[in-house]
């Protein structure tokens, strides 16, 4: 197993040095590929986002990902592997895999079964191929699109263009030229890129964004990289360049040692409110290895703070770059290692405690105010509740001493579809009450009405052991849950399995949403029982915050693993620990 893992690390690197390895003709089988260096596949896709994934590839990746899951599960302790934490990276993916309804989608059958040529054809052969083609699309457009999909060699594409030109008195349409350019850029044929650039410049007085993007990407590796900056200026005249455009230009500038241009472009990118690509940031770190400049290293630390403030996480290879850069800083003797964090918030690598998940008092007050004004009120109190009810609720909360646990009654009661709702609720409440916790149950009025699934006697027992607040049947109870918990103070937790994404979405800006998410991670208890009778167990609450952080002489940086699919409301589980040798 160890061999296997080291293998994974080394393959992506091998890949980067030798991009031509990936070119496999459409007729070849992927089996060989899969066996030999399957771990490289994913990386290749990241590098060349232009390439669409062939079906065989995705399947292979799924297999790998699954295999990796299994291996990991066997290694770690049983409990946590069965229920990955609600917000841990990959948990949502796993939940969906447990769902029996999900199945692989069958691929639509291929309509046009024309074999892509692997060698340049002459005009008769192209003519014949065109006759064979039965589709509604334009043959030339269709075939070159297929060539891009399967990365045909550019000679084949060139012969197609020559054929088109011969038929058309030397004219090749813009569309074909751009697609040809796409192939040239993918194969890094710089001289071809120059040629196409000359043609485009001669023929058209301005270019549109996709051609410029391709040209920028093609030019940055050459000596004419400054022309890429001109192209960027041209794009800016009409639309905001994409983060890829900026990323490419920055990489071009770094490749040619023009650090100032790179930082200026980076600042411009941030000013446009674009979120830079991880590759761009990685490029800065990779470049930083070779220069000893305080100014430069300060800016790199600023990038890390940017990651912290925007709750972004580097990818695996980026994490490696960060580690390498820190270790290359002369005189400071940094040492980095990839670790995980223990449940109590201690780093396994250095033993330091990670930042607490709890909000600062100011943040807490701010969030409380925002929840009341944006989630509950939201400009129209009648939307989620009524003013009378809100008043009643606020009075109720004021009168009660702070709670320890707030329960979303309906969510908890409906946990087991086969058990009676009121009984499940009673079960949970009495177990919590036994621990001498002050419990608040939030629900709706219909719960108190005697019915088959809501027994009155059981509800009365619930009301004896806990304080209850019942909202109107057409009011929403989740906002009350949030407010009651926030009002009770930092120690108070709430119980629901709901991910509360719709309420998070009500918040006005990304910063408040991140605050909410942080608070939610620290205060939400999710019940992970599978059977109604058993003693309830909760998902453990992480005591630490998953965010890039520093103490001056140490850095802790969470990162995304390449083969784990993380959803937006999940956080990574792997960390890079950096500290100075003393």
């Amino acid at each position: 197993m160890t061999f296997c893992f080291t293998g994974i690390r080394s393959f992506p690197k091998l890949w980067r040095n030798n991009p031509y390895l990936g070119v496999v003709g459409p007729g070849h089988s992927y089996n060989f590929f899969f066996l030999k260096d399957c771990y490289g596949i994913r990386n290749q896709q990241k590098l060349f986002s232009l390439k669409t994934v062939s079906p065989q590839n995705t399947k292979a990746i799924n297999l790998i990902a699954k295999a990796r899951y299994r291996r990991k599960d066997e290694g770690s302790n049983k409990d946590s592997s069965e229920f990955p934490h609600l917000f841990a990276a990959g948990a949502a993916k796993k939940r969906s895999q447990m769902n029996p309804q999900s199945h692989d989608h069958a691929l639509p059958p291929e309509r046009n079964s024309i074999q892509l040529p692997t060698q340049p054809l002459n005009s008769e052969q192209w003519d014949k191929l065109k006759e064979d083609f039965k589709g509604r699309a334009n043959f030339e457009d269709w075939i070159i699109a297929r060539m891009i999909t399967y990365n045909s060699s550019i000679d084949v594409a060139k012969s197609l263009l020559a054929w088109v030109a011969a038929k058309n008195n030397g004219i090749v349409s813009y569309n074909l030229l751009v697609k040809y350019l796409c192939l040239c850029v993918f194969h890094k044929q710089t001289s071809e890129v120059f040629d196409v650039y000359e043609i485009l410049k001669a023929r058209y007085k301005s270019l549109e964004s996709s051609a410029s993007t391709l040209l920028i990407r093609g030019l940055i590796h050459s000596d004419r990289w400054r022309e890429a900056l001109v192209l960027l200026e041209d794009i800016k005249k009409v639309i905001t360049p994409s983060k890829k455009n900026y990323g490419d230009c920055i990489q071009g500038a770094l490749l040619h040692q023009d650090v100032n241009t790179a930082w200026n472009l980076f600042q411009e990118l941030l000013d446009h409110d674009l979120i830079p690509m991880m590759e761009t940031l990685k490029a800065f770190f990779d470049f930083g290895k070779d220069i000893e400049d305080d100014q430069y290293s300060k800016k790199l630390l600023d990038i890390l703070l940017y990651l912290r403030n925007n709750q972004l996480y580097p990818g695996e290879s980026f994490a490696h770059s960060i580690k390498t850069w820190f270790e290359s800083v002369p005189g400071e003797q940094w040492k980095g290692q990839f670790t995980t964090i223990q449940k109590n918030g201690q780093c396994l690598g250095c033993g330091k405690t990670i930042e607490s998940i709890h909000l600062s008092p100011e943040e807490y007050e701010f969030l409380k105010r925002k929840i009341l004004s944006d989630v509950i009120d939201g400009g129209d109190q009648y939307k989620k509740t009524t003013p009378q009810e809100l008043k009643r609720f606020q009075n109720f909360v004021e009168r009660c001493p702070p709670f320890d646990v707030v329960i979303d009654g309906l969510n908890v009661a409906k946990m087991f579809p086969k058990a009676r709702e009121s009984q499940v609720l009673l079960n949970v409440v009495s177990q919590l009450a036994k621990q001498n916790l002050r419990v608040l149950v939030l629900g709706r009025k219909h719960m108190t009405v005697q019915r088959a699934r809501w027994r009155k006697d059981e509800m009365e027992k619930v009301q004896k052991q806990a304080s209850c607040f019942f909202a109107d049947n057409i009011s929403e109870d989740d906002p009350f849950l949030l407010y009651a918990t926030l009002h009770s103070g930092n120690h108070c937790k709430f119980i629901t399995k709901d991910l509360l994404r719709d309420h998070k979405a009500c918040l006005p800006d990304a910063k408040t949403q991140r605050l909410f998410f942080k608070w939610q991670q620290g205060h939400q208890l999710a019940i992970i029982n599978r059977f109604p009778g058993s003693k309830i167990t909760f998902q453990h609450i992480p005591s630490y915050d998953t965010v890039v952080q520093t103490t001056g002489d140490s850095w802790h940086i969470p990162y995304d693993e390449d083969l784990v699919e993380r959803y937006s409301y999940e956080v990574p589980t792997k960390w890079l620990c950096l500290h100075r040798k003393t």
Binding site: P120, N169, V172, Y174, A202, S206, E208, Y382, K383
Partner: protein
């Protein structure tokens, strides 16, 4: 300028040939014509020999780089005029960008007006620009298709008239008729009479126009279209509602749009448009606010109630806006029993205003839900459910009896089945 001169010389030089070669391109844009002819001229000049030659010498290989020479050389003269006027305003740049996108096969319009261009420049994000361009593209396409259809129809009509002329000359007979052909006008007058009666004795149907703050201009336009449609359906009905447009503020975009669409007819419409609220016009306890968010399901159509329909197209995901309105005024709410009668498939339960009007009209006349819910779009459901034959009580009783069977006997029963 000098290049233009040169070009024109070139054109006069090959004009006779061009006439023969490209008789159809002549109608197209002038610039396109110039370049094609020029290219023809150039290509005949430079690589004309190379193509056949290469193919003769090596039959299995096409000359790979030959096209580049043509592409580069053919236009080096053609475009130098343009590059001189390069640093222009962003408006022209945008226009060019759109033109290039069109060449790339993106969904952008061929022709674009100054005003539309300005709208594009004002769009604050790239995706909104693309969306607007796609809208223009589709509109242009539709317009073109309509134009072609119109021309074809005109041609057909022309032909029909000619045929008829031939026929009438053949047989010129006198025919006896009872009525003059004035059907449309008669129908309008009859509907006017019915409408006037509805104004006096009809059941009120209120459209609540207090949603203009919730909607963007486009949604507002959709709403007005739907209102026009509803009014049309109501007018044609046997027993029309007395329509009220309530909360219609004198200066609101709603009113402006309605007047724009109705034109002079607005003042002659047989309906009540008022800036008062529906709660001022009618007793509160007889009002029922129709909203899909309501927890109460409508069981029957009541002829003594006043139904209110919110004139609100919600593309912006604001659930519960109309329910909040009803809650604020403390009104009764109801929703259509869609789930009870239909096997719902996809789409929201929010129906368009004209569909709601037609359902209400149908209920008023027949009282049958099956009949009325025909107006729910077919794509939203897979069919009618068998209900109402077995009332809920009966179902419960059956359930109880099944539960009371001893376990073994039930198994036997199922096995037999």
């Amino acid at each position: 300028m000098p290049v233009f001169l040169k070009m024109s010389i070139g054109i006069t030089f090959i004009r006779p040939f061009a006439r023969v070669l490209v008789p159809f391109t002549l109608n197209k844009k002038r610039r396109v014509l110039y370049s094609t002819i020029l290219n023809r001229y150039m290509s005949s000049k430079i690589p004309a020999e190379s193509y056949p030659k290469k193919e003769n010498t090596s039959p299995e290989q096409l000359e790979l780089d030959g096209w580049k020479i043509t592409m580069k050389s053919s236009v080096q003269q053609g475009v130098s005029t343009v590059s001189s006027a390069k640093d222009e305003d962003p408006v022209a740049a945008t226009r060019e960008l759109i033109e290039m996108w069109r060449l790339l096969g993106r969904e952008v319009p061929e022709h674009i007006s100054e005003e539309e261009l300005k709208t594009i420049m004002e769009c604050d994000s790239k995706s909104s620009k693309k969306k607007y361009l796609k809208y223009l593209y589709l509109r242009e396409k539709m317009k073109k298709a309509k134009q072609i259809k119109k021309e074809m129809k005109a041609a057909a009509r022309e032909k029909a008239i000619q045929d008829q002329l031939l026929e009438t000359t053949n047989q010129d007979k006198q025919q006896d008729f009872l009525f003059l052909r004035l059907w449309d006008r008669n129908m309008d007058i009859a509907m006017g009479w019915k409408g006037a009666q509805a104004m006096q004795f009809g059941q009120p149907l209120v459209f609540d126009m207090a949603y203009d703050d919730y909607m963007k201009p486009k949604e507002l336009q959709y709403t007005v279209s739907q209102l026009l449609e509803s009014e049309g359906w109501n007018r044609r009905d046997v027993d029309p509602f007395h329509i009220h447009f309530c909360n219609l503020k004198p200066d609101s975009p709603f009113r402006r749009e309605l007047i724009k669409r109705y034109g002079e007819k607005w003042n002659k419409l047989l309906l009540t448009a008022t800036e008062k609220s529906h709660v001022d016009l009618f007793p509160k306890d007889s009002i029922i606010y129709l909203t899909a968010d309501s927890p109460n399901v409508m069981s029957t159509f009541k002829h003594d109630k006043i139904y209110i329909v919110g004139s609100f197209v919600d593309k912006n995901m604001q659930p519960g806006a109309s329910l909040a309105k009803a809650k604020r005024l403390n009104l009764a709410t109801e929703c259509f029993p869609l789930d009870k009668y239909l096997q719902w498939d996809t789409g929201t339960k929010n129906l368009t205003i004209d569909q709601v009007t037609r359902i209400l009209l149908c209920l008023k006349n027949t009282g049958s839900w099956e009949e009325a819910l025909k107006f729910v779009p077919k794509r939203k459901h897979t069919g009618y459910l068998e209900v109402s034959q077995h009332p809920q009580e009966l179902v419960n009783r059956i359930k109880k009896t099944i539960n009371s069977f001893p376990k073994g006997s039930l198994n036997k029963y199922t096995r037999k089945k």
